[in-house]
Symmetry: C2
Subunit: 279 residues, 2 copies
């Protein structure tokens, strides 16, 4: 259970707003782990041990666990139980369905697995998101502007606003409409770091909400740009890195190398937060 105040406290204490994506792929983890009883969990356990003082959030990507069938879900369950209580946990699941189904997903991630937050897709509108917001001290992280090429297909198209004029893009409408479904205590937004120039625009609409920013590293965004355009007084950012940390090495030193990569990012974040990289 982690509310906004506690999350901000952790960010300031750890001098980090790093989220580590646990996109744990049986085909990419070091071969020696395949002899273990539960390779995915063994991998995650070592990654968590090596990085837990450097990050404020872990984000398992559900697809990687689901692809292993029910066994993958057991690995996920053990992983969540293993993550220390003072670290924010995000189910990167991108769910969203009619009300009674979204409520089932909310129960799944919040009550069964005890995640703090779940990523949700906005296409089905208010009643597909609201059921997630009925859980105290739990969070919806709604997709607004994603970091992939396909973001241009629908998120970036121009729409007609309520005044009958076209001044905004779809993702802006998503922000403006959805910001009233909850508040900055139970909603965050996914905003891709490849669109750092869009962050200013987004901050005009939602100055206070936390943003979950994927796309640092492998997907190519600049941390400095993200911070300059996206940070607010409470920092208000969770910046995710996955592959460049967890697959820094595929040898027996994978956890050590993951720590080195995480430390580099944490140090850069500390510099940006305390302005000592520019002094």
């Amino acid at each position: 259970m982690m509310n906004r105040t506690e999350l901000i406290h952790q960010i300031k204490e750890k001098k980090s707003f790093l989220c580590i994506g646990l996109d744990t792929d049986i085909k990419k983890i070091p071969k020696h782990l395949l002899e273990e009883e539960d390779p995915l969990f063994s991998f995650n356990k070592e990654i968590i041990d090596a990085t837990k003082d450097l990050c404020v959030a872990y984000k398992p990507n559900l697809a990687f666990y689901e692809s292993m069938g029910h066994k993958g879900l057991i690995s996920l369950e053990k992983t969540i139980q293993y993550i220390p209580d003072n670290i924010f946990t995000i189910a990167d699941a991108k769910r969203g369905d009619i009300g009674n189904t979204s409520e089932m997903y909310a129960r799944t991630f919040f009550e069964y697995y005890h995640f703090d937050a779940v990523t949700v897709a906005p296409y089905m509108g208010e009643d597909s998101v609201k059921p997630f917001l009925n859980f105290k001290d739990k969070w919806v992280i709604l997709l607004a502007l994603t970091s992939n090429e396909g973001a241009k297909d629908f998120q970036m198209i121009k729409v007609i606003d309520q005044m009958g004029v076209s001044t905004e893009r779809m993702f802006e409408t998503v922000l403006k409409t959805s910001m009233n479904w909850g508040d900055d205590e139970n909603m965050m937004y996914v905003v891709g770091a490849t669109k750092a120039e869009m962050l200013k625009k987004i901050r005009e609409i939602i100055p206070d909400h936390f943003l979950l920013v994927p796309g640092i590293g492998a997907q190519g965004g600049s941390l400095e740009d993200v911070f300059k355009n996206g940070a607010n007084a409470d920092i208000g950012l969770l910046v995710n890195a996955s592959r460049n940390i967890i697959y820094a090495s595929n040898g027996k030193d994978f956890a050590e190398k993951a720590r080195e990569e995480a430390l580099k990012i944490q140090q850069e974040m500390q510099g940006l937060m305390f302005n000592d990289s520019n002094s």
Copy 2:
């Protein structure tokens, strides 16, 4: 494995385009089943036995299985294995993520569970959908216009088309853009039956694609309206009913009552297909 030709053959042979939604909820199934080792599977098994000659598709709603943790996924696995090969299977999962993650979801539903089709949300665009289309004789069922209240929030808003004029709504843009990602042999669309008057418009854009139509019964659409506005020469419809069939009774006669409800719908479908209800 079921391609378009075989699906059409099944529809004509069974005189039915009924899809039964297996939204199997541990809190709603008859109490006597809770003594069984695997209540969800026991329920599904009886429902399948009682209805398999009346429907052409089953659609398990993933949320209901996931809410039970890894045990629910075992129930799902057994359910899919139990469904006869000549019945189309749809994972109602509403996934959609960046390319490498969508590929993992595709493997999950197509290779691990052996579903024929999976429902996908369009918000993240082309590269979030394409990985599902790379599997031979498998299907994407893309959300276009859903049957819930929230459909108005984003699906129904007016957008500016490539000519700079506003002649269409978001769901029409989704149809026009996505119809070129695959073809009518590997893509279908979700179109809510509560919007029967929209079906004509949709058929102008995609005359040949199959439509998966939820919202009959509990959600209130009329089968006759759907057929009149949505059917094409190959029928081209899968109409889903869930709760009004599977929860027709919560006593020991639940399967028998489910059959009665399914038979009513199949008879109405037969009447519409062969025009003998109007004669």
